[in-house]
Symmetry: C2
Subunit: 382 residues, 2 copies
Amino acid sequence: MPDSLPSDSVGLVTPQTLHFDEPLQLACGQVLKSWDLVVETYGTLNQDHTNAVLICHALSGHHHAAGYHSPGDRKPGWWDACIGPGKPIDTNRFFVVSINNLGGCHGSTGPNTVNPETGELYGPDFPVVTVQDWVNSQAVLADRLGIGCWAAVVGGSLGGMQALQWSISHPDRLKHAVVIASTPRLTAQNIAFNEVARRAITSDSDFHGGRYYEHNTLPRRGLMLARMVGHITYLSDASMGEKFGRELREQAYQFGYDAEFQVESYLRYQGERFSETFDANTYLLMTRALDYFDPAYETDNDLVKVMARARCEFLVLSFSSDWRFTPARSEELVNAMIAARRKVSYAEIDAPWGHDAFLIPTPRYNAVFSTYMARVAREVGA
Amino acid sequence: MPDSLPSDSVGLVTPQTLHFDEPLQLACGQVLKSWDLVVETYGTLNQDHTNAVLICHALSGHHHAAGYHSPGDRKPGWWDACIGPGKPIDTNRFFVVSINNLGGCHGSTGPNTVNPETGELYGPDFPVVTVQDWVNSQAVLADRLGIGCWAAVVGGSLGGMQALQWSISHPDRLKHAVVIASTPRLTAQNIAFNEVARRAITSDSDFHGGRYYEHNTLPRRGLMLARMVGHITYLSDASMGEKFGRELREQAYQFGYDAEFQVESYLRYQGERFSETFDANTYLLMTRALDYFDPAYETDNDLVKVMARARCEFLVLSFSSDWRFTPARSEELVNAMIAARRKVSYAEIDAPWGHDAFLIPTPRYNAVFSTYMARVAREVGA
């Protein structure tokens, strides 16, 4: 945390764990009898409970989206650039709810938590959950918090898929859905990269079929590889070129296979750090949720038909250099919304950082996002 | 092999091994005292020795570029589409030489051959060779074959880099260089993908520091992953979508991590097959040769200056959907050639198959390539 707290920070925040005994029916057929969600909230719920905004996280995200957990924290939450007083999601006006999804590894019920039925960690026995399952669990959370209707459900990437699913599954429980750097379904190439990541994890000899906790080990090498390949797809060729180019760590080629180029050393470092802090079973689960997401599947691939179920308004944002979920994928979604006579605002933001651009504040991104959210705030009387 | 040989096939071919006792100075500082190259030749060398064409292979390639080794072969050589009677590299006119590079794993001296000084396999002790080293070894091969000057040196991808290096290192020993789907240097993203591949191999517990032969094992899982990630970069998002889409192997989601989507199963199959037939140490070496290739390095990144050393004419070809080595990279090269007052023909071929397009015959690719090579043939009296 900086020495003095910036005036646009939500400041020190404390996550809380909410326990649910309502059985949750999952898409896979299993039922989760009891479960926990870890949440953080920023801002104040108004008297009419109309100003609540739900933040949905992406693959490696969690509930800690803004502010600091302690004065010693070096970095704020993952979306601090967009959440806080005067920021696009203005905590002076909105009551913001940020959660760790089921199956996550930051406190919510998932592979690295105890299965109450066995007294052991779930590990690989934790069911493969879907975006639909998450949205259903978030609806139970909304009930608990007394939120009948979200002012907005907001997310980037996998988080954007949740916002989209909310609009289809619970059309009367949100006024706006903000779908950023997302897609109505993964392409074969997207799935292929996820498959490489999963194979890296499951073929690590320390994976032990997902029961690595019992073997007092972690599939670090596999998870590191998974993160490295993922990381490349979050950046753009141009931004990697700008940041690293062909820069060497030494003066000349070493004629070996150690990290010689700065980009190699950066990727290894990021991969290693990630492999120490993230759970491998959760990584598998999150990538599968991405693969499976396909709301138009049940309408015979008719995206217009499924979007016609929505009642909310939409803001859809894409980023010019995002090759993971290209602007064309957002446009596909926007076109379906328009054909389904939904109200939608769309902007392609010119930004060089690839998919990660949704985490990086830029004037235009900030302006479009802030303007839209200010309208939402006025509408709901926030 | 088909029941009756197509009239445009070079037919049955037999590789030969050439032994060299000329010491080869390598870029890394080591000297290879004696070495073997496996070669195939197609067509007939004319009396004046002016009609020879050298084919340089890419990362996983080898000497078997055209024809069949036996009537039982299911597939011909890797570039059979472009080499044969009446094909772009017309064996009725040219004498074609195709080799397996040093460090390869198809018979030429490399990690999986015996080090004469120790009587053991080289394994990880085989030096990291460069594109420059290959070109120097190919020049010694040319001497042996009595070829003072190639009519053309031709290659795609890493092969194109060799053609380019020939034009710079031995400017008077080739009339034409054909540089297909290549680049004057790798980007940070290219290097990053290579690093993932190398880490997958070296972190496999069966790798044993490259001495897996001695442990009677192979780093199959790592090599499989390396191939899978490489394979994705050889295809385009669109062509993968066309071929696999989101097609499932079963009727519905299985809620697990086995291969459910056709694209997963395809990648695994390709990766597994590759991991049984290709040498992991060679894979490391080939990716490093790619990383290191940067002819403008010695002219302070002045590509024009280094291209001014060339004397030959150039054909440069790129493919519209190639995101590994984009058309922009070929254009960078072409612009440098023009600025250096070299003669160059350039075409961007519209093709949907990504980087792999250079292996797939299409009318326009075939027409441009054939027309250029026919001119080469006329010039050299072939």
